[in-house]
Amino acid sequence: MIFSFTDEQEQFRSVVQRFLKQNSPITEVRRLMETEEGYDPDVWRELSEDLGLPAIHIPEAYGGAGFGPVELGIVMEELGRSLLCAPYFSTTVMAANAILNAGSEAQKLDMLPAFARGEQLATLAVTESNGRWDAAGIECIASPADGGFQLNGTKNFVLDGCLADLLIVVARNPGTTDNDGLSFFALDGNTDGTNRRALEPMDATRKLARIEFNNAQATLIGELGAGFAPLRKTLDQAAVALANEMVGGAQALLDAAVEYAKMRMQFGRAIGSFQAIKHKCADMLIDVELAKSAAYHAAQAAAVDDSDTSALASLAKACASDAYVRTAAHCIQIHGGIGFTWDNDTHLWYKRAKSSEAFLGLPDYHRELLMQQWGS
């Protein structure tokens, strides 16, 4: 396994960093999070056309840049650091990967080039009102109709569900349970029988929707009933990407806490000179660096399709989300009263940490998945 980034990857990181610094200052994050769409189409166009970020992990055969999970992880880490408001996780990480993993060759050739160009906004709808992230929790039914399929059921907590033009939905054949009978389907977000409602997300930088399907006509992606393996793979890849995003956010919080502690004077000295604060910061650094190692390691494993990738993805997700939440709480604490105000930026990352903690499954769920692989 590789434990460092190449010079080219480091350069790529600098380019992404520069772009985000310029195009996603925290004032823009605050402006966009109050809007319904939650993103700036001009910035999205630039990051697609100039940087090619939506193409990064899509193979060249489908119009992409042909890089992989490591480069995607670099993008995610920087997005997490800057809290860029954009439909990147929904479109690029979840929907594009779902098509890559589940779609037929013809479908990939047909659908993915638009993703790579940044012209397709899409999302993947997995979770339902039971809030479960395992395949067995899926109840949405797909029945054959009119040469295609009709979807019935409700998807919940769907990332950018109202914004996405294209919905990728995981549903099951009538009469099946657990991991059997699952398939991926695609439909336009405005298809008849599709009712989308925006939810009020605690983390306003990440838009969520509830989507009801009443005999909504959809197209099968890939093979009928063979959806479990690609779903598992897609969720593992999403967990790796999210872990990398989370360590970027955690680093931003650590930087903010240390900077503030050096500047804030109480009792005639910088509060950062008190061991009570210094030691907390040292612990935060350990948390962040160990979580980075887990996130990078999982990305490297995914890049070579290591047989342990699923376990490592869960490990990274649990590790990074615990580190992120702890770092966020410490960062507020170090800021004291000002850290609890709306004007202070810490709560933006705190809320992202909390939404990321639950998104794709809480840490205890991922620890259990890890134990199922490493403890038996």
């Binding site: 460092s4 240390v258 061991q275 910061c281 650094l285 160990l290 190692s293």
Partner: protein, 417 residues
């Protein structure tokens, strides 16, 4: 050696070993040969038993020794710290008198730094060295001294000036352990082992030529020793080479290693033994307990992510990149792991944690873990000191105000009886 390229070094050492290596040689005689040839410590200077090779080529030599199953110079214990310190700060007399017997293993060394009154605050040492016109006269007490009971020499940090600020009043000496003014007593730890000693000095004598560097420069010299200690822990490795090892010299080396390693035999338990966790949980059936599964997973995540962090640090070093924060966290991470291990071993072992000894779980190993883990967050720099170092050196945070910058005579300190 003019040419430092890997191929030529490899072929030269290989040829030399082919001609000279004899598994039935006498150990001391063989190591004297290594010292004369420079192949025992190739990164040392040519004048002093080395070949002046860069450290990176040292591993090439190591590989060839391993390939030939050839015994190397003595490397265990404090000896290599002593050698590194003497190479940097000693004069020709010191190097001439001590280095060869360090390499042959004939002399054992110990480090006389820590005291009952100065642990984390090492520069607060109060063992005194007073010059009586002929010798330095040593009085005081040292603590946590590994190998003192069979060492020929000690690296001594002692106070020679009480009116200077504390870091400036210290001097660094080589002390001969075998003399009437030096008394060594074992120190029994809470886990029942006695791996360390207390060393008492009552008018012990040091001849003036055994002062290392200059009077008052002891802290600088001690920093060299400590830097090598942090870098290495080399003394704890290198003992586990496998391969066809037939010959009398291996027996001699084995006996030597056993003696030196004896105090460290509980060290694996001190680290917490994460390697035992899953098997133990299966054997006890606690692997099916949902709470314990969570705690095991947390521990595995911590241990693996710390391991990968160390790998990142090493990879960056190998690429010649400046060290990032990941290189400074290992010590504190090991403490966290050890504590977490003790917690999870307790959950797995349940009521049996009340027992110790042969009949207790794993023949006493679990009990030994539980009573050894507390050392991890103290030995070699407490967690609190580590956090100070990390926050100040890595995160650039300000220091606490100090109250010990004046003459040492006036600094509040412990009364040691």
């Amino acid at each position: 050696m003019e040419n430092f390229d890997e191929q030529s070094v490899r072929s030269e050492v290989r040829t030399w070993l082919k001609t000279n290596w004899d598994p039935n040689a006498n150990l001391i005689a063989w190591r004297n040969k290594l010292a004369d040839s420079g192949w025992g410590v190739p990164h040392w200077p040519v004048e002093w038993y080395g070949k002046g090779l860069p450290l990176s080529l040292g591993s090439v030599v190591d590989e060839e020794f391993a390939h030939a199953n050839a015994v190397g110079v003595a490397k265990t214990g404090i000896r290599m710290l002593a050698a590194a310190t003497l190479l940097e700060h000693g004069n020709d007399l010191h190097k001439d008198r001590f280095l060869r017997r360090i390499l042959t293993g004939e002399d054992v060394w110990c480090q006389l730094f820590s005291e009952p009154g100065s642990g984390s605050d090492l520069a607060g040492a109060t063992t005194r060295a007073d010059f009586d016109g002929e010798n330095w006269i040593i009085n005081g007490q040292k603590l946590w001294t590994t190998s003192a009971h069979h060492a020929q020499f000690g690296l001594l940090l002692a106070r020679t000036d009480w009116d200077e600020p504390k870091h400036k009043g210290l001097s660094y000496f080589v002390l001969a352990m075998d003399q009437p003014g030096v008394e060594v007593l074992p120190l029994k730890q809470m886990n029942g082992h006695a791996s360390f000693n207390q060393v008492f000095f009552t008018d012990a004598k040091i001849p003036p030529e055994y002062l290392i560097s200059t009077e008052g420069n002891g802290w600088q010299v001690a920093m060299t020793t400590l830097a090598h200690e942090r870098r290495g822990a080399d003394g704890l490795r290198g003992a586990s080479k496998e391969g066809p090892r037939e010959g009398s010299i291996y027996e001699e080396e084995r006996a030597e290693i056993e003696t030196v390693m004896e105090p460290y035999k509980w060290y694996p338990q001190r680290a917490g033994r994460v390697d035992l966790i899953v098997e133990r949980a299966k054997a006890t059936g606690t692997i099916d307990d949902p709470h314990i599964r969570q705690e095991i997973a947390k521990l595995l995540i911590l241990a693996k992510s710390a391991e990968w962090t160390a790998r990142r640090a090493r990879a960056a070093q190998q690429q010649g990149r400046p060290q990032g924060p990941e290189g400074s966290l290992g010590k504190l991470a090991s403490s966290n792991i050890a504590r977490a291990c003790a917690h999870v071993h307790t959950l797995i072992t349940q009521t049996d944690v009340m027992l110790t000894g042969q009949e207790s779980p794993l023949g006493g190993t679990i009990a030994e873990i539980l009573v050894s883990v507390p050392a991890t967050s103290i030995a070699g720099g407490t967690d609190e000191i580590q956090r100070n170092i990390i926050s100040e050196r890595v995160l650039g945070m300000p220091k606490e105000p100090r109250f010990d910058t004046g003459p040492f005579r006036d600094v509040p300190r412990n009364i040691v009886t």
